[in-house]
């Protein structure tokens, strides 16, 4: 489903942020990408949803070489990928409900269907009561769960999560991982970046370790 062949990423600095990455992830896999801060985890995910372009090498998603994708097609690729950003990237001027609705509005669903699905997902992440709050009225952990709800609401085949437990205490961390695991069990390919060793040890999943931009 996802293939990286000899991928390099250089931001114009002296060292490559990613170098010679070769990686193949099958449909329905759950993969942890680990490594210390600055290892290149976020960069790797950014290449997949095309927030950045690879300096060298080839990235295939569903057999499509995304390097040759027209700008016009990028939104369509992104709709097939749910993304939980390290810094959430919620729209602070609109409510939780509207934030989570956005990926469905893009798809042109009716208002009623949107509301139904969004409330279901909010229930799933335990935020039913907060649906009319604005993101900045929520705690870090709650915002993180809104970000997850938005990432999964349109049931994308691929879910990318960048440190989705970075702001959570250990209790909530487990909840979130179980959530991702549930989405995985329903058929999604999940790639989660984390520097949290406990999580990796606790959940036995495929592991890709990065350091200084290289796969160990």
């Amino acid at each position: 489903m996802i293939r990286l062949n000899h991928v390099y990423k250089n931001y114009g600095t002296a060292t490559d942020s990613l170098s010679d990455i070769n990686l193949s992830i099958a449909r329905g896999e759950f993969v942890f990408i680990t490594g210390p801060s600055g290892a290149g985890k976020t960069t790797l995910l950014k290449l997949l949803f095309m927030a950045e372009r690879a300096t060298k090498g080839q990235i295939l998603i569903n057999d499509v070489n995304i390097g040759t994708l027209k700008a016009r097609k990028i939104p369509h690729l992104r709709r097939a990928i749910g993304i939980v950003f390290q810094d959430f990237k919620l729209l602070n001027s609109i409510t939780v409900l509207d934030n989570v609705s956005f990926p469905l509005e893009v798809l042109g669903l009716s208002r009623r269907d949107i509301k139904k699905r969004v409330m279901r997902v909010l229930k799933f992440v335990g935020l039913t009561e907060k649906s009319n709050y604005y993101p900045l009225e929520l705690s870090g952990g709650e915002q993180q769960r809104v970000a997850i709800a938005r990432a999964v609401v349109n049931e994308p085949p691929i879910l990318l999560a960048d440190e989705p437990t970075g702001n959570l205490d250990s209790e909530l961390t487990l909840d979130i991982i179980r959530l991702l695991d549930y989405i995985h069990k329903k058929g999604a390919t999940v790639i989660m970046a984390t520097h949290n060793k406990d999580i990796v040890e606790r959940f036995h999943k495929r592991l890709v370790s990065l350091d200084h931009g290289r796969i160990l």
Binding site: I74, K89, S93, E105, V106, S110
Partner: protein
């Protein structure tokens, strides 16, 4: 699907406005001020050219009649003059009327006229032209036609004054349009810059929407509509303000000015101009936001 989209865009436009009340208030205020200057200028221009048109209607031709003309011949002549298609009206001024008029002018210097044994003034027709025919060429043509008629001694009109007047009208027209064009460019620029500022405030949000799968069009349309609504509100507010200032002026100051300018009338815009101006505001807002979006959304 299509109507879902349209409703979405409309809803989204208004929720965008609600989400950024301060930015929108600032934007509408700026647009109102810019449009106010433009509308005020337009009001001045419309009234000034109205005044000039009124002055143009004053164009008159005086036809002095031969002394020997009988009453019946005078009637015939009047009919002939009225047959000329450019002529609106011809009023007869008898010798006696002319003398009375002169008398009024020279009142206090009675002896000037007393000395005259018989009335030296000719009878005349005062011919007015139709509104459509008041160029110097029209007037000259009519004068020539009448000059050829029997019983006409002399045809007099303000040839010099008329052509000067038309030069003034031409200049006012050209200058007015140039100033108007410059002003509207300024208004477009101000609106574009203002809307650009509101867009910059949303740059982060636009980025996010793109990252979660929003297409350019999907993000753009509500924001462009937002600019249009800002323009619409701006023009309604500025038109309203102009109207109240106009009313205030007419009630409190017009009397003094009125004396100064003679019978000069100052009118507010016709209703259809008000509607056009309001729509123009919306159009400028639309144009401004399309311009200020520019390449902003190109990935």
């Amino acid at each position: 699907m299509f109507t879902t989209r349209v409703f979405y865009f409309i809803r989204k436009t208004f929720s965008n406005i609600r989400a950024y009340p301060l930015v929108n208030i600032l934007s509408v205020t700026t647009i109102s001020i810019a449009l106010f200057v433009f509308f005020a200028y337009l009001l001045l221009y419309v009234n000034l050219s109205g005044l000039l048109v009124n002055l143009g209607e004053e164009v008159q031709i005086n036809i002095y009649l031969a002394d020997f003309l009988s009453e019946q011949a005078t009637e015939e002549l009047k009919k002939d003059i009225l047959k000329i298609k450019e002529v609106e009206d011809a009023s007869y001024i008898s010798k006696e009327d002319a003398l009375k008029y002169l008398d009024e002018i020279f009142s206090g210097q009675d002896d000037v006229l007393k000395g005259l044994s018989k009335n030296p003034l000719p009878a005349s027709f005062n011919v007015k032209l139709k509104k459509r025919f008041t160029t110097p060429e029209d007037v000259a043509l009519v004068a020539k036609k009448i000059d050829r008629m029997n019983g006409v001694e002399d045809v007099v009109y303000a040839r010099e004054w008329l052509s000067k007047f038309y030069k003034v009208v031409e200049i006012v027209k050209v200058v007015g349009i140039v100033i108007g064009a410059v002003l509207s460019l300024a208004v477009i620029a101000i609106i574009a810059i203002t809307i650009k500022l509101t867009l910059l405030a949303k740059k982060g949000e636009i980025e996010i929407m793109k990252l979660v799968g929003g297409t350019n069009l999907f993000i753009k349309v509500p924001m462009i509509l937002e600019g249009m609504i800002q323009g619409l509100f701006g023009s309604i507010i500025s038109m309203g303000a102009l109207f109240f200032i106009y009313r205030y002026f007419m009630e409190h100051y017009y009397k003094d000015f009125g004396l100064f300018f003679g019978a000069l009338e100052i009118n507010f815009f016709e209703p259809y101009i008000i509607i056009y101006c309001t729509l123009l505001g919306a159009f400028l807002g639309l144009l401004g936001s399309i311009i200020s979006f520019g390449r902003m959304l190109k990935t």
